[in-house]
């Protein structure tokens, strides 16, 4: 799957494009977990504006990422969820676990909190 990566200081901004499902989740997971490897000095922001759907395996990848962050101190936020993905987050209750922001600015600011 296509994932655009932008680096701003110690923050990586990952922007996956398309559906995250059974076919694309392994590549997404590999890239996301690699970005989270560097520990408490690092932060990752996921720009979700290009994701038009996320199935359970994609959600599970986000949960693994969240757990890795809890273990090694890396900070993770998501922003710009599309309406469909926002609904999926609500139905699956992932919105109660992950830090989600409407826009990029507050999301990046949230990484320092």
């Amino acid at each position: 799957m296509q994932i655009e990566i932008e680096v701003q200081g110690n923050t990586q901004i990952l922007k996956p494009i398309g559906r995250i499902d059974q076919n694309t989740a392994p590549a997404f997971q590999e890239r996301l977990l690699a970005a989270l490897e560097n520990g408490p000095d690092n932060a990752v922001a996921l720009d979700m504006s290009g994701v038009d759907f996320l199935s359970s395996i994609g959600l599970r990848t986000l949960m693994i990422a969240h757990k890795n962050c809890q273990a090694n101190g890396t900070r993770l936020v998501l922003f710009a969820l599309t309406p469909v993905v926002r609904e999926v987050f609500s139905i699956s209750r992932f919105d109660t676990v992950l830090r989600c922001f409407d826009e990029r600015g507050p999301a990046l600011a949230g990484l320092s909190v």
Partner: protein, 321 residues
């Protein structure tokens, strides 16, 4: 085939609280908005046609028990949760004590919430009745003996009047019972559990509760898609949210509405029935989960794919295939 839900609650029986009864009364009175009704028929029409579902229904609180009627004289029942008491009472009303019946039970597993109804099943006490307990577990009898012995219960299992037979079953080794072909499948649950697929006259019902589905386990996912394939009805354990099943409640042995929809879509199931409801949830929350599941089905459906009908089990619900 006809399916009747006698118990749909997971883990522990619950009862609706006074607060929730009053909530429903409030909802009904608000909807009536001061209107008066001349006759019982008028009131019934208002209840049926105008009140919201949540005002006129409750999901109920009995633990797992599902009757599958294949049209023959023998009965098929999945699990013996607390809902079995009411099923047994209905059998006493229908047949009385003098007309022997044959009851075929299929056990998902032997955890307490799935066997607790048996000591309160009146037909088990009546000589002449036959109780056949089909199970893939190695020694189901031990669980029944333990449940009905001191200090847990005053009537020992050995003294029950009915003829009780334990019938061993093996996954993927189909049997014919009450005119239906029954196939079992191993499921992921502490101590193992088994799902059952009942097929008769080209219609299939799958009973799959206490089964955890891990999104990353492709091999197991394919086994379940095959097991559910083209089923008319899948009764599915959706006790937790997906977020819970991959975090706090991972390896607790239950699944989610999200996994339910995905497996049913991939298997071209016609009708999904959410089941094994979380005992901590009230009617409002279970109704919300049901509506959200309908929405997720809509979001997930590929263009042109048939609609997966989504229902949520409640005690007393009947579905005809």
């Amino acid at each position: 085939m006809r399916v009747k839900i006698w118990g749909c609650r997971g883990s522990l029986p619950v009862a609706m609280s006074t607060t929730r009864v009053r909530d429903k009364l409030q909802m009904a009175l608000k909807t009536a908005n001061g209107r008066s009704f001349a006759t019982d028929a008028d009131r019934e029409k208002f209840i049926t046609e105008e009140l919201p579902w949540a005002a006129t229904h409750t999901f109920g609180g009995n633990t797992s028990c599902v009757q599958i009627d294949t049209g023959g004289p023998e009965y098929i029942i999945c699990d013996m949760g607390s809902g079995l008491r009411e099923f047994g009472a209905s059998m006493m009303l229908a047949h009385g004590p003098a007309k022997p019946q044959i009851y075929n039970f299929f056990m998902s597993h032997l955890h307490w919430d799935h066997i607790m109804g048996f000591p309160f099943f009146p037909p088990a006490y009546i000589p002449g009745n036959k109780v056949r307990i089909h199970s893939c577990h190695p020694d189901p009898r031990a669980a029944f003996l333990r449940q009905q012995s001191a200090p847990c219960f005053p009537v020992n299992f050995e003294t029950l009047g009915a003829t009780i037979e334990f019938v061993p079953m093996r996954p993927d080794d189909p049997v014919t019972v009450a005119g239906a072909t029954v196939r079992a499948l191993l499921q992921n649950h502490e101590g193992d559990s088994y799902g059952y697929r009942f097929k008769k006259d080209g219609k299939s019902v799958v009973y799959s509760t206490d089964s955890e589905h891990k999104p990353e386990d492709d091999a197991t996912r394919e086994r379940f898609i095959d097991f559910f394939r083209n089923a008319g009805l899948v009764i599915f354990d959706a006790q937790y949210s997906l977020a819970e099943t991959v975090s706090l409640k991972e390896d607790w042995g239950h699944s989610s509405n999200i996994s339910a929809v995905e497996l049913c879509h991939h298997s071209r199931t016609e009708h999904l029935l959410l089941y094994h409801h979380e005992p901590a949830f009230d009617d409002n929350m279970l109704y919300r989960i049901w509506q959200e599941t309908i929405r997720y089905e809509e979001l997930m459906r590929d263009g042109g794919a048939p609609v997966l009908h989504v229902s949520s089990a409640y005690d007393g619900l009947e579905i005809v295939l």
